[in-house]
Amino acid sequence: MLSPATEAELSEIVAGATGPLRVMGGGTRAIGQAVLGEAVSVAGLRGVALYEPGALTIVARAGTPLAEIEAVLAAEGQRLPFEPMDHRVLLGTTGAPTIGGVVAANVSGPRRIQAGAARDSLIGLRFVDGRGTVIKNGGRVMKNVTGYDLVKLMAGSWGTLGILSEVAFKVLPAPAAAACLVITGLSDARAVAAMAAALGSPFEVNGAAHLPDAGQTLLRIEGFATSVAYRAEQLAKLLAPYGVVKVITDAAQVAALWRDLRDVKAFAGRVGDVWRVSIKPSDAPAMAARIGGEVMFDLGGGLIWALVPVGTDLRAQLGDFKGHATLIRADAATRARIATFQPEAPALAAIAAALRAQFDPRGILNPGLMTS
């Protein structure tokens, strides 16, 4: 495995590569087809380069462990807004997730519904393209429209357009208090309606999930203590028509609950493949019925996690729908047979291929990861 210690070394490695490269951060998000190629780990590019709590900005090298970033932020009472999922729980992987991996996979969590995805907090980055050229885009300030936004293009490109060397984020204050409202026994349709009512209220709900098997619909609020108490009360009133609303206010309990939701712990260690289906929230009940297996709703219904029998081609089963399905966990044979990412409309697939040809003309960066 190649382990450059600096961006310059990374650039030399790519420039001098004679065959495909498998780009690695912490190696905890082994999603998609196994890439054949020499492993390049960015774990050696490590450390927080700049952190200004008063400006809500942090810049770190791509190989910095996520845990290190979170600890640095927590010490100042701040956090990453988008609540990145820890894939180790669901995938059974080991190792330390890196901040570069979070960006490459655009990893977010339940708070995505209010605070946006990783790409929404990302304000700048540096990367090495397929030629070995070092490129920067964005910067360290949160308002920046200077030139094209390649920051967004790189987020979620899974190392296929370039290898990230440094990333910069806008961060937010961590809240003083949190509460979770729980309603039991709702049908999928009623649950989605209840979540829509809550998300359409001014009470700043930043988590909305529904667990059909546990029979629970969960809503989270965060903020100053008096504010959380007030909003919990208002929401309970608003949601009274849907059933009895229980309010959990113990901070540790609320945090543990949403961490498990974020990490899809309910499907961890269970037999079956796991899919992530992104749709319009109100389509969720009908989609869940079409999926048939065990499901969990996040993002108010906009995201369905599905546990289906091993080898199921869920996409083929669902037929045409508005949104996309991603295969997150399956054995090697299934992953070799079923495309990980939703195939795109031909015109968009052509643009994606042309972009890859521009940024990685030799096709050496994680070849096939996003296309097969």
Partner: protein, 481 residues
């Protein structure tokens, strides 16, 4: 600011090009009369003007596609246009270009409160998007000061921001999907009502691409429930440094105001004379606004005022009524108008790390003396997006050039301290030739490669964003008509 000289081969084919457009589109959609096209000769960067070859005002995505196919086949550059309020010259035509304006496409196509989105044609103005949903207590968050006039089309192209983006983000954070027509006339659907479009984040790169990748005709926008209420507090300080430190302390304390606006003495004096908002005369003034229920607002403002007290404010005034809140905002909102009353001005838009605020303001003050031109500063302090207004006299020979040189120096300063050339107005022609201050050649090359993918012939808004010398070989690729 130079523009490339028009392609005489295109100018000589004007009648044929206009005939083809007129034959394929409704009669009222094509404007080519010399007097009528003059209405499209500039945007809000009025120092630069040039009437286009012709103007096309389609009524549907289909018509946009037809117009683009013809222009593509004829090798004619196309400049997309929304409402023409760009301050960067983004919608400035060249004599050999066709203006493609979406102003007639202003319908709401779908409103969905359960899924919290609205789908509109992009000619719709920013304010009227909120207008379509506010009776049901929803709003569209990005709120540029030009929101009465500017169109969603331009907002997407420039990734526009507003006073409330500290909390709600800018256009790109509130955009879910677009319908876009490529220069070749192909209609693309990207994203939609579901979150997270699959594949590469094309939506992210289209937003802020200044009309160079395609013509956006429809947009799916996130709408949000209106907060229960909002209230501003006004505070005055006797030094810029102190106001800057106060902003930083508020943010560090864990409060996230929806807006933190900053005005310096020259700006306070001008707006006070013009709008009589009752501002205290001091070196620096902050307007901090928070949202929530009355009790939530009380709690946040109490904390903010407590922090402000530690910085010895010369004034500290919380709005006690709706009326007082309006008066606090009145001065800020009329700042540009006030400056316009006393002078011609150029509005800059660089962003700096908030920590550099005192240094940058001091340097701007020094440069102002060196150049002999006044500057007033008004800006979004929470996110470091500055709007220095340089005052000059358009009738005085040489003053515009002097002002531009001063502006360039301020923007270079922004980059030097770790910031950028433009926080929300875009590059256009205005900052085009300064791009190499912020970016290395390979950074610009990477961006231009994206344009190569969407518009290989460089026909869409070609002379913008990239330094002319840098984009020259791409723009001058010989195009067989």
């Amino acid at each position: 600011m130079d523009m490339p000289s028009p392609d005489t081969r295109i100018l000589s084919r004007k009648s044929r090009i206009v005939e083809r457009l007129a034959a394929a589109l409704p009669k009222a959609a094509v404007i080519h009369d010399d007097a009528e096209v003059r209405a499209y000769e500039c945007d809000a960067l009025t120092a630069y003007r040039c009437p286009p070859l012709a103007v096309v005002l389609p009524s549907s995505t289909q018509e946009v596609a037809i117009a683009l196919q013809i222009c593509h086949a004829e090798g004619v550059p196309v400049v997309p246009r929304g409402s023409g309020t760009s301050l960067a010259g983004g919608a400035l035509p060249t004599a050999d270009s066709v203006i493609l304006g979406v102003s007639r496409m202003n319908r709401v196509l779908e409103t969905d409160y359960d899924n919290r989105f609205i789908r509109v044609q992009t000619g719709r103005t920013n304010l009227s998007v909120t207008g379509a949903v506010e009776q049901d207590d929803f709003f569209y968050a990005p709120d540029p000061s030009s929101q009465l006039a500017c169109a969603i089309a331009g907002n997407i192209a420039m990734n526009s921001g507003g006073a409330h983006c500290l909390k709600y983000g800018v256009t790109t954070n509130n955009l879910l999907g677009v319908t876009m027509v490529t220069m070749a006339g192909e209609i693309l659907e990207i994203g939609g009502a579901h979150m997270d479009a699959g594949g590469y984040d094309l939506l992210g790169v289209i937003c802020g691409s200044e009309g160079q990748l395609g013509v956006v005709t429809e947009a799916t926008l996130r709408i949000l429930p209106k907060p229960e209420g909002a209230r501003p507090v006004l505070m005055g300080f006797d030094a810029n440094e102190v106001a800057g430190a106060c902003v930083s302390d508020i943010i560090k304390a864990g409060v996230l105001p929806v807006a933190i606006e900053f005005m310096d003495r020259p700006c306070i004096e001008a707006t006070e004379a013009f709008a009589k908002a009752g501002y205290p005369m001091c070196e620096a003034l902050l307007i901090v606004e928070v949202e929530g229920s009355p009790a939530e607002i009380d709690e946040q403002l109490a904390l903010i005022k407590q922090i402000a007290q530690t910085h010895n404010p010369v004034a500290l005034r919380e709005a006690q009524s709706e009326d007082e809140a309006k008066r606090i905002w009145l001065g800020r909102k009329s700042a540009f108008g006030a400056m316009g009353q006393i002078n011609d001005y150029m509005c800059l838009d660089g962003t700096i790390p908030v920590s550099s605020l005192p240094y940058v303001l001091r340097r701007i003050g020094e440069m102002s003396k060196e150049y002999g031109l006044g500057v007033a500063n008004v800006f979004h302090a929470g996110d470091g997006n500055m709007h220095p207004l340089i005052l000059f006299d358009a009738n005085k020979p040489g003053d515009l050039e002097l002002c531009e040189a001063f502006g360039a120096d301020i923007l270079k300063l922004c980059v030097e301290v770790g910031g950028c050339l433009t926080g929300e107005h875009g590059v256009g022609i205005e900052k085009r030739d300064l791009m190499s201050v912020q970016f290395a050649p390979e950074d610009l090359e990477a961006q231009m490669r994206v344009k190569d993918v969407f518009d290989p012939d460089w026909l869409l808004n070609p002379a913008k964003v990239f330094p002319l010398a840098t984009s020259q070989s791409r723009r001058q690729r010989d195009f067989a008509a």
